[in-house]
């Protein structure tokens, strides 16, 4: 079990994790706390398993300064599952407050927010697309966060259950540099799957933040949800059905999950433990202020390098003020040149650089576990390739 050399891997997810975390996780998979049993083999309701839940929750609360008004919980899910879960639960919470079936506003800035809007609509949510980054762009691509002045109006607290957006679009390399401003009383929902715990966040502004963990903080199998406690009230199933609001399968019912400390059904404790280990490392390293500075520095190095290359070599697709710090996307100009770039990188030991199958091109993912050394290494290859 040697993994001593630096792995220069830039895949978009599931993605690289800190070697110290992976090694500790592997030890704990074999035997946890001297019990003769690994952490994947014990009851999710046993004391050591409950401690994993409690300690991971505590780490996330500390890292994000989660206020008393909000709760943190975990479930067996990922981003795509949460597209549905959010719709069910936000409609239920709104019905509790107003007695009505609410609408939902979606800010669509890339593949994932588009999919989230489609899933909500499919499940019967009255979806209003406040803005669509692709349609707003002269390129016809998701390459920007359109100026808020150009968006359609949000609904009001009287008719709108939530406003939804994706904080970082992994496929398109578009990230919000700010938190969207929504009308007073309307709840904001954010998908932070690919930039969670890469920067500080004012949690008080959100109704719900969710993240599949497999990009920045864990291996696939678990989602983290941070929710305003007020949104955990829901009408009876009969009332919801009468309002034509679809019921969540019980495994996606947020109030049930929170009431049971994330253990209504079998939570994959081993997978959550990896999140525990990465969040502990983040805390040990000084928390999100430090991580944000590191993430920004690495992203700035990459963009500075790409911007310094003479025109005609690369095509940087995303508008400067919408550039993702997590997923840096570009194309290589000229037939066969992209393959040349990827092959050359591979020969130097750099992998995971292909763009998403739906868009192609190059994508350099700059998650927390990608070292500055790896970023420097790919930057030197970018310069070498360009010259």
């Amino acid at each position: 079990m040697t993994r001593t050399e630096t792995t220069h891997y830039f895949g978009a997810g599931p993605a690289l994790l800190p070697t110290s975390v992976i090694k500790q996780a592997a030890e704990d998979l074999i035997e946890y706390q001297g019990s003769g049993l690994g952490l994947g083999e014990i009851s999710h309701r046993s004391a050591p398993a409950v401690a994993v839940v409690d300690n991971t929750k505590s780490n996330i609360k500390q890292l994000l300064n989660v206020p008393e008004t909000h709760e943190v919980f975990f479930l067996q899910s990922g981003g795509t599952g949460e597209f549905a879960a959010v719709a069910y639960n936000m409609l239920a919470a709104f019905a509790k407050k107003t007695g009505k079936k609410g609408k939902a506003d979606y800010i669509v800035t890339g593949t994932w927010s588009q999919k989230a809007a489609e899933e909500a609509k499919r499940l019967g949510v009255d979806v209003n697309i406040v803005v669509n980054g692709k349609k707003s762009s002269p390129t016809g691509k998701y390459d920007r966060i359109p100026e808020p002045e150009t968006w359609n109006a949000f609904g009001s607290a009287e008719d709108t259950a939530y406003v939804y957006y994706c904080d970082n679009e992994t496929v398109n390399g578009v990230e919000f540099p700010y938190v969207p401003k929504v009308p007073e009383g309307v709840e904001l929902v954010a998908d932070m799957s690919s930039n969670v715990l890469s920067r500080e966040v004012d949690v008080s502004k959100f109704g719900v933040i969710f993240a599949g963990v497999q990009k920045n903080i864990g291996i696939a199998g678990v989602a983290v949800v941070i929710i305003k406690k007020l949104l955990l009230e829901k009408p009876s199933d009969e009332e919801l059905t009468a309002l034509n609001i679809p019921l969540a399968p019980i495994v996606f019912d947020f109030p049930t999950l929170v009431k049971n400390n994330s253990l209504y059904n079998t939570l994959p404790i081993f997978n959550l433990h990896v999140v525990y280990l990465t969040t502990k490392l983040l805390l040990d390293n000084g928390g999100l202020e430090v991580q944000e500075a590191v993430s920004n520095k690495k992203a700035e190095k990459l963009y500075a390098t790409l911007d310094s290359v003479p025109e005609g070599v690369f095509n940087l697709l995303v508008e400067k003020n919408s550039r993702s710090r997590m997923n840096i996307v570009f194309t290589v100009i000229g037939g066969g040149k992209e393959k040349e770039f990827l092959d050359g990188a591979k020969a130097k030991g750099m992998t995971g650089l292909s763009g998403h199958r739906s868009v192609g091109g190059i994508r350099i993912s700059n998650y927390n576990a990608v070292s500055e050394e790896s970023i420097d290494y790919v930057c030197s290859w970018i310069k070498e390739f360009a010259s």
Copy 2:
């Protein structure tokens, strides 16, 4: 990373796995096939990840002799999620065939089939309880599979989408010694979460078999589904809605998952890999004929030991012909005696013997990974305690 001694662990799930499997999984978590990256850190769509899906599928097909009429797939789920998933998908398949919303017959023989029936009913399924083991029993407990002659009539192929049962009730220690006979044309659905791959099964008799993997073949986070291919046809979402059939969240939509080779969304590949390793071990050891003989022998030893103890010490709760080979449940007669039994076992290094929190008592789980040595060891403690 030493785990050399035999661990005498009898927990009901998540449960003990073979040490060789866990050690291999831990190595692969750190670095997979010399790539410098662990198996939790690569894209679920990369070639090595797809190979995990394909090879695990192939192993299960071999082990269960899955006929050409059926497909095997995986999803991020467990038993409780499947309670809902089965309801959505079986109703959709029936609507495709008949243009109608079907009813569902539930055979309730314990905690899990009861929960499955409740979840289906909650989601709007017209649930007919064909039999309830608790109500049929003079003890008022789930302690038997009532004789089929006493069951209410099943629905017909014209009005009933499926008949549902739980092959082994983990909490109550009740297992079917046969496959329930259902009317021609009615699909049978089985929850085999806690006895999957412990014996041979005639898959052709089933519409759907599902299993959360965390008891017999893996760590929590994945469910295995075996489905008749004919059940993968469904009407449009509009037609389903018009029939008042709830739509599955896309992550639980069987046709979508199968169409995408279990990779529509991010499957927890590392968790599936553990299933690959346990199924490979089963094949290497001679397949299910061998495993069934081993499982039966271990269970027979336990029951023979318990039956040999003079009356007044233990209370074996389950009728002889319904006894589970997987979860052997009993109570210890006399105040404080149960604690004495558990404490004595613990002092000898045996753990995981407490009954489910809802029923108490003692439960010895006899999953595939529990060695005959462990069974002999607990049998000798049972004898010592009784004498």
